[in-house]
Every structure is written in C-alpha cells, then in structure tokens.
C-alpha cells in the first residue's frame, strides 16, 4: 500500500470535489442554496465526454461542459431569484433533471477511450521530497488549475471590493440593496458561476481523473459530498480544498486496503469479493454526516459564517407589519 500514491490519487479526485465545493461556496455566499450540484456535475460530465468523443479535442469538451453547467446554474438562479421559487425544491428538481437528462444523452456512450486532458509534471516543484511526488508529479492540468483557484477564490471573497459586495448580498441583502448593490444581478452571476464550476467538476471526472462514461455511477454522490463539504468548510475556500483532498483520499485508501493480505496481523476482511467491502463503501457518506453534524453543532450560525440570508429569496419591501 503506497501512501504516496494514495495521496496523489486523493489530490486528483479531490480536485473534482474542490471545483464543485468552491462553486457552491460562491453561490451560497451570495445567499442562494444550490442543491442541483449533482445533476450539474453529471451534465457536465456527459457533455464534456460526448463533445470530446465527437470533436476529438478534450479542451473543447471542457469548455462545453462548463457552458452546460453554467446554463443549468443560470436556470436555477432565474427560477429562485426572479421567480422566487423555493431554493431547495428547485435544486432538487435540477438534480433530477440533470440526472435524467444525462442518462438520456449518455445513451450509447460506452466507456470508450476518448481523448483526455493532458497530465504533466511541474519541473522544479516535482523534485521536492515527498510532497513533490504527490502534488506536482504527473497530475492533470485541472489539478494545477485547482491549486490556483483556491487562493484566488479566497482572495476575491475576503480582500476585494467585489468580494465585499458578495458577502453583503449573502448576509444582508436589504443593506446591500440600500447601498445600490444589485442583489439579484450578483446572485445570478455567482450562481451561474457555481454551475460553471460544477460542470467543470463533472468534466474533471470524465476527461481527466476517471475517463469514460459510466452512467449514474460516474458521479455517484460526489455532488452531495461537495455540498456537505461546504458546511464543513464553513464557507471558506481553503478549508474546502483541504476537506476535498482528504475526503477524496478515502476511496484510494479503501482500494489500497483491499490490496493488502493482512491488516495489523489479522486477515484482511475488506478484500474485494468479501462482503465487508460494502462497509468501506459507506465510509465517505458516513464521514459527510459526521462532518455536517460537527459543522452544525454549538455556536450560532452567525458566528460560524453561514451567510445569514442563505436560502431566503430577497424581495424589496414585501408587506411586513
């Protein structure tokens, strides 16, 4: 069991969760809950894959995936912001829609080999002992994109004027509106952007990390894990990234466990084919529950950083007493 390899795999798969989680962070920081991430990821995955199959160019596939994700995000935004529909139901509807539509569109796409996005090693950095092999050696370009996006997202949110507006819109839309900040416009923009990143996350699977289309199994709950990660990360991009990598390492760890004959001197009950592997499969989902519990406990949501207006549509001056 090569821990280094496991960690490297975790970084790769974690990038998927990371993109989805950061997109969700932007959406939720603006005050809109997006539960359609799973559906958007599936659509991004299938759109990216099938475009790559037909054009032979994975970069085009990547762009198409992001556009598709963005369109779905915009749909969610319009329905919840301008039509004031319930955000929870709209997100769920998007998940159903994305799942079903992805199944329809992915029909007949076998897990044939389409072109992949290139993987590369970064020269100097990959020579760093231990970390270099994990982080910078033979990773997909999207992984490196992930490394860059995280600090950029943090900087944008915390240190810039647009970030201040974003935070205000999510905390207290009435105050932002009174100061001339366009609440609805910003929310539309950020939710759409969240969709773009979700599409990117989906494409990361089919074009980089686990190439091929496997129907629903392609995403298999990662979108929901990303939503849970956002709560765990307390809406902070850097924590989300760390959580994503850690979570993603669980899968390869399980596989690694399955390759070992004995654990701590005892015969390995988790070998593939042994029914106990199913308990290992449960682990990521159990972890999400644990993580969400920890995130909700104790301290008031306000102190924890949940955007105060999350989930509540903003309407100017609707009748109050």
């Amino acid at each position: 069991m090569d821990l280094g390899l496991i960690a490297a795999a975790g970084i790769a798969t974690g990038t998927v969760l990371l993109f989805a989680a950061i997109g969700e962070i932007f959406a939720e920081r603006s005050g809109v809950l997006n539960l359609g991430v799973e559906g958007m990821m599936l659509m991004g995955a299938v759109a990216g894959f099938s475009t790559t199959l037909s054009t032979g160019n994975p970069w085009i596939g990547l762009v198409v995936a992001m556009i598709v994700g963005g369109l779905l995000g915009a749909l969610h935004a319009v329905v919840t912001i301008y039509l004031r529909a319930d955000q929870v139901v709209s997100g769920l509807a998007l998940t159903f829609l994305g799942t079903g539509l992805a199944r329809v569109l992915g029909e007949g796409l076998t897990n044939s080999n389409a072109a992949r996005l290139p993987a590369l090693s970064i020269p100097l950095l990959s020579d760093i002992p231990i970390l270099g092999r994990i982080l910078f050696h033979d990773q997909s370009v999207l992984v490196y994109l992930g490394f860059i996006i995280v600090p950029l997202a943090w900087f944008w949110i915390e240190k810039t004027r647009p970030g201040l507006h974003l935070r205000a819109v999510g905390e207290s839309p009435a105050a932002a509106d009174a100061q001339g900040v366009s609440v609805q416009g910003l929310r539309l923009a950020y939710v759409t952007f969240g969709g773009v990143l979700a599409g990117l996350a989906g494409a990361t699977i089919t074009l980089a990390v686990a190439p091929g289309w496997f129907g629903d199994q392609t995403v298999n709950g990662k979108g929901w894990i990303a939503v849970g990660l956002v709560i765990f990360a307390r809406w902070n991009p850097i924590r989300a990234a760390l959580g994503a990598y850690l979570f993603a390492a669980i899968g390869p760890f399980i596989l690694g466990l399955q390759g070992v004959d004995r654990i701590l001197g005892v015969e390995n009950p988790f070998l593939p084919g042994r029914s106990a592997t199913f308990f290992l499969e449960m682990l990521p989902f159990l972890f999400v529950i644990a993580v969400v519990i920890l995130g909700s406990r104790g301290a008031m949501r306000q102190r924890l950083g949940a955007p105060a207006a999350l989930g509540v549509p903003y309407v100017r001056g609707e009748r109050g007493h």
């Binding site: 647009p162 201040l164 207290s172 105050a175 306000q302 105060a308 009748r319 007493h321």
Partner: protein, 525 residues
C-alpha cells in the same frame, strides 16, 4: 451633481439666489387603496433643521422616501439646490447629496463598521484598503461627535451606535441634506440630546436636516421650522418652531387639541400574580441580558417597563412567557414557572402579545381562523377528542371578528393580507379570549395608526378593570405613563428605578434609562 471630492468636507456654496436646499411642489403618491401624498408642497432651507410632523400613516415617510429616491411620485416636481431632479434610485439621490437614515437600519450585522460604510461605493476600486479607510472614518466621526469604533462589528454595537454608523454612511458619501426618519424612537432622552448636538454641528456647516417625528416635545426642541402632515396633506407648511405650542401642533396633527383621552380610574390591585426574584438570562448572542431582576405585578394592575432597546426587556418578556431559559425564580399565581415550557406557562393563564406580530404572533399564510384558535385548539368546542371541529372554529372566528372589529374579507383569508392594525386586533382578540390572569404585552402599538392605538389602549384598560395583571413593555414613554399604575425602568438588565404612576416624570425616567447622569458613556450595552 457629484459628491464632494473628499468625504465629509464642507459642501460648496449653493448657486447664487437659491437659499433652498430642497423644494418639492405638488407631490402626489398613490398606493393600492391609499392616497399617501395628496398634492404636497415642501421646502427645506440651507442650514436649517426642519421637522416633519404627523402621526403614523400621515404620509411623512412616503414623502421623504420620494425625496431620497426610493419611490417615484405619481405627480409633482422636485428641485435640489435649484436644479430639477427625478431620482430613480437612492444611489442617484446620494450623488445629488441627499441621504436618508431610515427607522430600520440597513446594516450588515456580521460585518464591521468600515465595511458597512464602504459598501456600495465606487472607491476603493478593487482592493479594500482597510487601514486607510478606517482612519478616514475615524476622523469623520470625530468631527461630528459620532463616537464609534470603525473596527467593531455591527452586531456588537448598541442601537444608538448603529444609528451613528448610518449617519456616517451618509456623511462619508458627502450628503449635504440628511433626512432622519423617527431617529429618537430607539434612543433614550440623553442619547437623543447627543444626536441633536450632532445635527446642530452639521447645520452649522451649512448642511440641512429633515427630521421626521410624531413627538411634539422633541420637535419643538430641535427644529427651526415645522411642517405638519395629516392624512396625506400638509396642514401647516414651514411654520417657525419658535412661537408654536404643543396644542397648536396637536390640532394640526389630528384635528383636536388633545391626542387621546384615556380613562384610567385609580386601581385597587389585588393579589400578586407575577413575581420575579433575581432573574438572570442570556440573550441570543450569549451575552448576559438580565442581571437579577425582581419585580411584581398584581391583579388589576398595569406595570410598565421602560427601557431603551437592547437593555433586556425583550428577554424579560420571553423569560416570563416560557420562551427563554433563565436563572432565578418566576412565580405565576404562586406556581414556579421559570424554565418551564411555553405550553406550561400558557396553561397557567398567561397571555402574550409579542413584539413581532408577523413572525411570532401569527402564521402569515394560515387563515384568520387558524390563527385565532392557536391557543384553544385543544379545548372544546374547537377540539372534539383529537379532532378539530372546523365548523365551530369558523364560528368562533366570525364572532371574534365582529366583536373586535377585525377588518378582513373573510375568516379564511390569510393573515399576511391584513393590515398591521387588524393583525394586532386579531392577536389581542385571541389572547384576551383566553381569559388570562396575566397578560404580557410587548410594543403593542408599534407602527399602528391612531385608531388602532386607541383600540389597543382601551382593550388594555378594560382588562385591567376586569382584574388581569398586565406587564406592559413599550418604548413609547407617553404610552407607559398614560397606561401604567407603576413604571419600572430597566437598564443593562437591572431594575434601575421604580415609580408609581403619579410620581413618574419623563426627565427622571429618561435619566435612569441611560444609567444615570453619565452622559459621556460610550455604549449602552
């Protein structure tokens, strides 16, 4: 017109020949079913404090909202410093130098003072230069005596301090004309004096202030000129404050000399119904709100609680009605109810008219009927075993609607469609019909028009006459003095003083509400 080059610098002199900062002519504004402004004229001179007086519903806020760019008038013209304007948004009004501080603050609670003031501005362009902005804001605050810490987060500030932030927001944007909507509603008398000093320093520089209020005494104290509105019309335009009397103003406001005739016969209080001993409690943020409160309310007696917002009176109401845990002892009718559930307290004969009638006192999307049976759906005749008898529920609702004159299309109408006054009538109807031994009423007349206020006062006095003990919490000192048999003042979670009704005097109460004679205190909590 653009804002001044640096925030807070003295405004440029107006174009020659226009002593008027603002002139509005023939303003008309409709809302569904109501003519809020009926051909209103209004003018504001440079360097003056102009009070806009009228009762709730008179149309003063509407008029000012139009000036501040929130509403568009249906008809009429507005000139700011001699130039005709038509604002499409508050942002445009601010660029013209006109800013408004509303009754309900528009601040982001979790962000700092600096972040709130910078919100929505065009500069700094991209990166937030927090240190530099903080220093600038600090200097601005100094100049006008608006003491506040630029690094503090809004939720940490007292209401008075939050108001200062709102004012600073306007000044930072170079507002030369400041409109303040009922600013002293949330201030104690001493804080109000501080505010007046700030306003005076602004007018000394040549800025102009419009001061909306319904309090006669205040208006006479601070204003240079007064405009009175009533039912959407101006009844007195720009009358000099010197030489006006309360009686004159009252007549212009409501058409009669005295505002309200309350028939409060001397009471003969009975047994002690509610007793608090050394009650302590925390607020929602985990800070101590009540630090050992002891008081008593007898049957047939109204005890009024006077306090500035944020000194523990909300928590006091919640602790008595079983909505908040506490330390110490609370006895109702001799039974201990501290830390018992709300349902236990209700079954002890306690009725509660809550502060937030829309979000707590009622379920907005349920019918009037459903709301009226909220406290009696487990008893006959509404309940039949574990079923709810819809027919008898409707009958009861119809009866209550008639008795308490709740204006509504049907008893099945959703209560969110009722006006504030009618919703309060409904809540009072429901609570009174439970025949309580104790009634806790919190801000019962907030935001209501005169007719509804009179109704509420009458109902309270009726209950008092019937022997109910009433704990009345209100920010309206006039209301407390008129209704209460005794007034207890709460400051920082403790009873600071207690007066029988005939000894109550506004000045003294006001002093205690802010912790004594110490007017240099920074914060109130």
């Amino acid at each position: 017109m653009t804002a001044a080059a640096t925030p807070g610098s003295p405004p440029p002199p107006p174009p020659a020949g226009s002593p008027l900062a603002v002139e509005a002519r023939g303003i008309v504004k409709h809302f569904p079913g109501v003519l809020a402004n009926d051909r209103v004229d209004f003018d504001l001179r440079r360097g003056e404090v102009h009070a806009l007086l009228g009762e709730n519903g008179a149309g003063k806020s509407t008029l000012m909202n139009i000036l501040a760019g929130l509403y568009r008038p249906d008809a009429g013209e507005i000139e700011v410093e001699g130039v005709q304007v038509a604002f499409g948004s508050p942002r445009e009004a601010i660029s013209a130098g006109l800013g408004m501080v509303h009754q309900h603050f528009t601040l982001v609670p979790s962000q700092t003072v600096t972040e709130n003031i910078l919100l929505g501005l065009d500069r700094p362009r991209f990166l937030l230069h927090e240190r530099a902005s903080e220093a600038e804001i600090g200097r601005l605050a100094e100049r006008f005596g608006l003491r506040v810490d630029p690094r503090a987060r809004i939720w940490q500030l007292s209401v008075g301090e939050q108001q200062r932030v709102e004012i600073l927001k306007m000044l930072y944007r170079g507002a030369r004309i400041l409109i303040m909507d009922e600013p002293t509603a949330v201030l104690a008398p001493q804080e109000a004096d501080d505010l007046f000093a700030t306003l005076r320093s602004m007018t000394a520089e040549g800025r102009s202030v419009v001061f909306i209020s319904h309090k006669l005494g205040e208006v006479l104290a601070i204003a240079d000129r007064i405009t009175v509105m009533r039912r959407g019309r101006v009844t007195a335009a720009g009358v000099p404050a010197a030489g006006a009397t309360k009686g004159d103003l009252a007549r212009l406001m409501v058409g009669r000399s005295v505002l309200e005739l309350l028939d409060r016969t001397p009471s003969t209080p009975g047994e002690v119904v509610l007793a608090l001993r050394d009650v302590t409690a925390d607020n929602d943020r985990g800070l101590t709100a009540l630090r050992g409160v002891s008081l008593q309310v007898r049957a047939g007696e109204i005890v009024g609680i006077a306090a500035v917002a944020g000194n523990g009176q909300s928590e006091l109401a919640e602790v008595v009605t079983g909505l908040r845990p506490c330390g110490g002892e609370i006895l109702i009718g001799g039974r201990s109810v501290a830390n018992k559930s709300a349902s236990t307290v209700i079954s002890q004969g306690v009725a509660h008219v809550p502060e937030d009638r829309a979000a707590v006192g009622s379920a907005p999307n349920l019918s009037l009927t459903d709301n009226l049976i909220m406290k009696r759906y487990t008893d006959a005749p509404v309940a039949r075993g574990w079923l709810v008898d819809n027919a008898s529920a409707r009958a009861i609702a119809t009866e209550l609607r008639d008795t308490y004159q709740i204006s509504t299309p049907t008893v099945e109408t959703e209560v969110r469609l009722l006006s504030g006054g009618n919703l309060q009538r409904a809540i009072l109807a429901r609570e009174i019909e439970t025949n309580p031994g104790l009634l806790v009423a919190v801000q019962p007349t907030r935001g209501l028009d005169v007719g509804a206020i009179e109704t509420v006062h009458k109902l309270l006095l009726d209950m008092r006459a019937r022997g109910t003990a009433i704990l009345l919490i209100s920010e309206e000192l006039d209301e407390l003095i008129a209704l209460s048999d005794r007034i207890d003042v709460i400051y920082e979670g403790r009873i600071a003083g207690s007066f029988p009704a005939d000894e109550a005097e506004i000045g003294q109460i006001g002093l205690l509400m802010t912790g004594g004679a110490d007017t240099d205190r920074e914060t109130a909590s």
